[in-house]
Amino acid sequence: MSTKGLLSMSMKPWGVRARKLAAATVGAATVVVISGPAAAAAPDPVVPLACADMGTHYRVFNKQDVHIPLGIHYKSGPGGTVKASIQTSLSTTLKVSMSASFSAGALIAKAETTFGIEASVTATIQQTYEYSNNIKAGKYGHLQFGNWGWRMGVEKYTLDANCRKSSSVEGTVTSMPSAASWGYKYWETAS
């Protein structure tokens, strides 16, 4: 092999075959310059983009069913029957206990996505219905109409341009109305 051939081989990655070939052709009258592979061209510097999720976010957790009472609290007894009459135009609105402002719409949307529920910032029912319940002898019966919503924990946090959490506040959604579930709750007391 000629020197030119060896030099052209030296431009390729330094492998076993190349070394053996070079060793086989070294002789007293031949000077072989063996060089390592040419350095790869440096890549263009990476310019980081801002975090795609930069901004304010909500996380919800620990969902529990709650009855959100509305209208008249009926009580009767001892014993007999307690009856509730028709009431009109009852409504309830999202209530949150947190030391930070929040977007009601964003919070509802997050809860719906996280839990697969159908919630509402404000829920209204035009007309309730009658309901009666027998009361155990010696007890007082209580009836109240309401919306069957949820209570849950909430975290409001912010992601900065590097996708790092830059602030976080936790609070409680004390009542989040459901869009469609309404009804009565009955209970008894001794007095």
Binding site: T124, Y129, E130, Y131, N133, A180, Y186
Partner: protein, 139 residues
């Protein structure tokens, strides 16, 4: 459900009034009645849109051991699912389709021991538009 036009709402209201009246008449209490509800629609209006309403009533009182029957009355269109729970016992059933004349469905539960807490849920399927009433009887 799509927003209703005023004409549709008026016609729907008239039909629903008839369904409510029919169901109320059928749901007369008897000596066996423990809980009774008045007739209510399976739809409600939220923010100008007609939406399906899930009926859910719960009690936190004690139920003596024995046999109980949930009797559901329905008039209108569509299908209802009835969920009945007393203590740790529960059943859910798909009821016969509602019709313009009142139809009746029942769900039975047997309590082997005294139990606390009760739950009744009436869940309309799809675009059910009906009036519903129910009572719980000790049988």
């Amino acid at each position: 459900m799509p927003p209703s036009t005023s004409a549709q709402t008026a016609a729907g209201t008239t039909k629903m009034s008839g369904y409510l009246a029919a169901v109320t008449t059928s749901n007369a209490s008897t000596a066996a009645t423990v809980v009774a509800t008045g007739a209510r629609p399976t739809i409600t209006e939220q923010s100008g849109r007609v939406t399906t309403m899930v009926i859910r009533d719960e009690g936190a009182n004690v139920w003596a051991k024995g046999n109980y029957r949930l009797v559901i009355y329905c008039a209108g269109t569509g299908t209802l699912y009835a969920y009945f729970e007393l203590g740790g016992e529960s059943e859910i059933q798909e009821l016969l389709p509602c019709a313009p004349t009142v139809s009746t469905g029942t769900v039975d539960l047997a309590l082997p021991n005294d139990a606390s807490a009760s739950k009744v849920m009436i869940i309309p399927a799809g675009e059910t538009e009906a009036a519903v009433a129910y009572q719980i009887q000790r049988v």
